[in-house]
Symmetry: C2
Subunit: 235 residues, 2 copies
């Protein structure tokens, strides 16, 4: 098998995998400001994301007013209670989980998607939801860059999107996608917090890989090299 | 300003930014197989993505049958012609662009989202589209890992999702998100192909950053440190 001549050297490749495996959805932050230059670098990394038809649909609203931060926090609390009610028997267990760090994080960023409308049909004619996908790629870039900078980030999607849009006076073609908490952390969780808190276990990759059709590939040859042993750079 | 004690060393941090800035949406591939171990590593990196409520909604269908690959290619051609018709005066210009590398790439992977339904309300009660966002984060991980391995990847979203679902016999709760072309490339584009081909120019970050409300922040202090100078590791 030919390896690629464009492959990064071992240390660089390991660093990329390290960020991918050490990235965590953080909810615990230290109330310490984020260095502006670092913040600029991670936003620039988000902006380097792929986007459908080069539409760059991401919009970033930096929240600097304490009163507005508090209002966003309250929106999330409302939705948290709605979620608890919808969960039935896991209601109390859910309410014990920390689901956001909005009041503590150094930077609060609302990330939104602006719909290009009928002029932007490249890759979106049959798949209009690709704008959201592009914004999610930008957020993942932001997350990995933040991890490399030693900053934690948490993606909060527990809010009524229309209420948040009203609060930030977003135009009709702009949909909120995420409330992002970004900031210093005492430590990164060694595993996803929802696993550590026994909320849910992760599934192994091999259960999610198929070959040619939606029949699990775990019994055929294709799955042989999709094992769950530790990858190259996972520690 | 305090920098984080969890920050990676300069070389590791630069490697993460390098993958972020050198990642390209590739359409030109060499018809050469992908090393199975490398393919396993990049899939494992995708699987390390964040997901709403740890739902892991991504599903990967590896296409190994040449006839099926050809059928997927034909679906994309149909949608390409529909897109060209919808583009009006840019019709001919669009048809000159290469929009996929399906028949040439070493590995063809269909990526789909499985909807967790009413049982999975964590972070999705008011934002059901967060499953798609999680799958997009997994695809971005895959993309960055592939770049570090020296492999190109292209995300094709030009297809009728129902036709592709029928072709792969996907259950009703599974939606196709992407046809991913993965493989060896002669070289990576030095800039997004749609920029090189004069299809569309990228916008500077500062036009997409706001403060507290949806009024461009470019005139206030907040925008001061969101300039478009070269970031730390962009070359």
């Amino acid at each position: 098998m030919t390896l690629s001549p464009h492959c990064y050297d071992d240390a660089s490749r390991a660093a990329v995998y390290r960020a991918i495996y050490e990235r965590r959805d953080m909810r615990h932050f230290l109330p310490r400001p984020v260095d502006p230059e670092t913040f600029r670098r991670i936003l620039q990394a988000a902006h380097a994301a792929p986007s459908v038809g080069l539409s760059q649909p991401w919009r970033f609203v930096r929240i600097t007013l304490p009163a507005l931060r508090r209002q966003i926090y309250e929106l999330v609390q409302l939705e948290r209670l709605r979620t608890a009610n919808a969960l039935g028997e896991r209601h109390a267990e859910f309410l014990r989980l920390k689901v956001e760090g909005i009041l503590d994080c150094g930077e609060l960023l609302v990330c939104a998607a602006q719909d290009g409308g009928t002029e932007e049909v490249f890759g979106r004619l049959s798949m209009p939801q690709m704008s959201l996908a592009s914004v999610a790629c930008a957020i993942q870039n932001l997350w990995l860059a933040a991890r490399a900078e030693g900053l934690g980030m948490g993606w909060v999607s527990m809010f009524d999107p229309q209420a948040l849009a009203n609060l930030l006076k977003l135009p009709e073609d702009v949909q909120p996608v995420a409330v992002l908490c970004i900031g210093h952390v005492a430590e990164f969780y060694p595993a996803p917090m929802l696993t550590l808190e026994n909320w849910r276990s992760a599934r192994p990759l091999k259960e999610l890989v198929y070959e040619n059709t939606f029949i699990p590939a775990s019994t055929d040859e294709a799955a042989e090299h999709i094992s769950d042993k530790s990858p190259l750079a996972a520690k």
